[in-house]
């Protein structure tokens, strides 16, 4: 399968997503917008888990911190400036990740998983139990931010279709940004750390700094997702920071296939799509989801991202490339 076919496929998916509001009902437009937000979240975690080899089980903290930032700084009955609250939320999430990274990146393996979880639980309880989170039930974001820029208003997030396109553009931008990062000298160092951190050190790389930069970037991008989620649903709750949320996004990355950005996006679609479908059938939808995850790990070790290649190989369609 050559890269031209892959690019064509990605562009076709993008075109489909762009046309979707014209054909989908408002329920489905909101659902796909939610999936796109989670795709950003999953890509941000994929940078750590799939590309750097850092399995974080507390990634929801940065998602939730950004969501709370916009809810807390936006005025109660009037629109905040979109660009200001977006920047503030992403900065807050990135700063939190930088601070946490200073501590957790000194650990490895199972300890890293545990301390990322521990910090996320601390963040959860800060918003759940202290005055900062106002109420354990959450906070409403009554008015969507206003996109005006020096008096010019390019779009309005009050319109569901325009909100959808804003989220789609953000998803595409994060995808493109991470694609560049991964092939840059910085991204190659992350790949080297994933493969053999000890050797990277002996080659002269201060690996801690690179991991801290990756952790901060991943936190900031999770913040983009958390911000968009808060704006999309007009509501934030401590559950955004809960370990369920951290686990769900990790499952999206695994379902999509480690080491693939497109896989992370596909994983978000599959996970939320199945969640919707199963919860329509039964309130014990988590049982079904569990079965799907087990089956996926057993029978699809390369995830959804590895699927096209395997299908191509089975039907012997197109050229054999290995």
């Amino acid at each position: 399968m050559n890269s031209g076919v892959v690019t064509l496929f990605k562009l076709a998916v993008l075109a489909g997503l762009m046309l979707f509001p014209a054909i989908g009902s408002s329920f489905y437009v909101e659902l796909v917008a939610k999936i796109l937000v989670m795709a950003i979240f999953a890509m941000s975690l994929a940078l750590l888990v799939g590309f750097t080899g850092l399995v974080s089980l507390g990634h929801a903290a940065y998602f939730g911190i950004a969501a709370y930032t916009v809810a807390l700084i936006a005025p109660e009955y009037e629109a905040a400036n979109l660009w200001f609250v977006l920047a503030a939320s992403v900065l807050a999430a990135g700063a939190a990740a930088f601070f946490v990274g200073l501590f957790v990146l000194r650990t490895k393996g199972i300890y890293f998983i545990m301390v990322t979880l521990a910090f996320a639980q601390m963040a959860y309880y800060i918003f759940h139990d202290t005055a900062l989170g106002r109420s354990s039930d959450g906070i409403y974001l009554n008015v969507k931010p206003d996109a005006s820029l020096f008096g010019w208003t390019p779009f309005s997030l009050d319109d569901p279709a325009q909100l959808y396109y804003f989220i789609l553009a953000a998803m595409a931008a994060v995808f493109v940004l991470l694609s560049f990062v991964l092939r840059s000298p910085f991204g190659r160092v992350l790949a080297g750390i994933h493969s053999n951190e000890h050797r990277m050190k002996s080659l002269g790389y201060a690996t801690f700094r690179y991991k801290l930069a990756a952790f901060t970037l991943a936190g900031a991008l999770a913040g983009v997702a958390g911000f968009l989620y808060a704006v999309l649903f007009g509501f934030v709750t401590p559950e955004y920071l809960s370990w369920h949320q951290s686990g769900n996004v990790l499952l999206m990355v695994i379902l999509g296939g480690l080491g693939s950005l497109a896989g992370a996006v596909a994983g978000a679609f599959a996970f939320i799509g199945l969640q919707e479908m199963f919860s329509d059938w039964t309130k014990h939808w988590q049982l079904l989801m569990g079965l799907v995850i087990v089956a996926a790990v057993l029978f699809m070790p390369t995830g959804l991202a590895g699927l096209p290649r395997r299908i191509f190989r089975t039907v012997n369609w197109g050229e054999d490339d290995e």
């Binding site: 940004l177 560049f180 990062v181 092939r183 840059s184 000298p185 910085f186 991204g187 190659r188 160092v189 790949a191 080297g192 493969s195 053999n196 000890h198 050797r199 990277m200 050190k201 002996s202 080659l203 002269g204 790389y205 201060a206 690996t207 690179y210 930069a213």
Partner: protein
């Protein structure tokens, strides 16, 4: 004319109650290959680990061109010009040979903020990597996956990666381990070329190879230096023969 590059000054390392190295002194000179011999458990690995920065010494100093580098970690020492290859092959198996060496070269030209630059197209790192690959005798294998190379080629790749960091002091931990006789002969030839303008420490079990290329040999036994001198002196030393051969019979 000899010029001291790396000096180990009374290096000592304890592991709990065990003294793995006791006041070990070694001097590496430019243009010279210094071999470190000794039976298993003599402390050779501990010594090379202290020199490379993988292990902090309990006492003693390490001087690189007169500057104290004892407190620097392995990454910092790499930047000062000390490069190390490992006894157990330590490469990036999923990457191509070229990318293994390009990453090594990139450590000298890091550009971490250039996130819109394609790393594979940074010409200086690619050129440095290609030159190191050719120097280590792997020319033509650039696009092969490192994990698919033969064992001997992986040993060569280890050295190519060190060369790509522009190291002036090479610490080579058993580069001939597990090699066939033809591959060994090639590696000995490579070592001769490499020492021209560098200082090399060679930890090696292959006696024929050591006596063929070493300018100085240090023999360690039970964590201490037993004797150090030119190959003829070591070959004829009764003390070395007694200690070394005696140990070999047990082990």
């Amino acid at each position: 004319m000899s010029e001291a590059m790396l000096v180990a000054d009374r290096l000592t390392r304890h592991f709990g109650g065990l003294t793995a190295n006791l006041e070990v002194c070694i001097t590496l000179e430019r243009g010279k290959l210094h071999a470190l011999l000794g039976p298993n458990g003599a402390g050779k690995s501990t010594c090379i680990n202290m020199l490379s920065g993988d292990l902090p010494p309990s006492a003693g100093r390490i001087l690189l061109e007169g500057q104290d580098v004892t407190g620097l970690d392995s990454a910092e020492r790499s930047h000062r010009g000390i490069g190390r290859s490992y006894q157990r092959t330590n490469i990036f198996p999923q990457f191509t040979v070229l990318e293994n060496c390009r990453l090594a070269a990139q450590s000298r030209r890091p550009r971490p903020w250039r996130i819109f630059t394609d790393a594979m197209k940074t010409r200086d790192t690619v050129e440095r990597a290609r030159a190191a690959i050719v120097e280590a005798g792997l020319g033509g294998r650039e696009q092969r996956k490192a994990g698919l190379l033969s064992h001997g080629e992986q040993r060569q790749l280890e050295i190519a990666m060190v060369l790509a960091t522009d190291a002036r002091v090479l610490l080579l931990d058993e580069p001939l381990a597990g090699m066939g006789s033809e591959e060994s002969a090639q590696m000995v030839e490579l070592l001769r070329e490499l020492k021209q303008n560098r200082a090399i420490l060679l930890v090696e079990h292959d006696m024929d190879a050591v006596f063929a290329v070493a300018d100085t040999i240090t023999v360690m036994v039970e964590g201490s230096v037993l004797e150090s001198g030119p190959p003829e002196q070591i070959r004829n030393s009764e003390e070395v023969q007694a200690a070394y051969l005696g140990e070999e019979e047990h082990g």
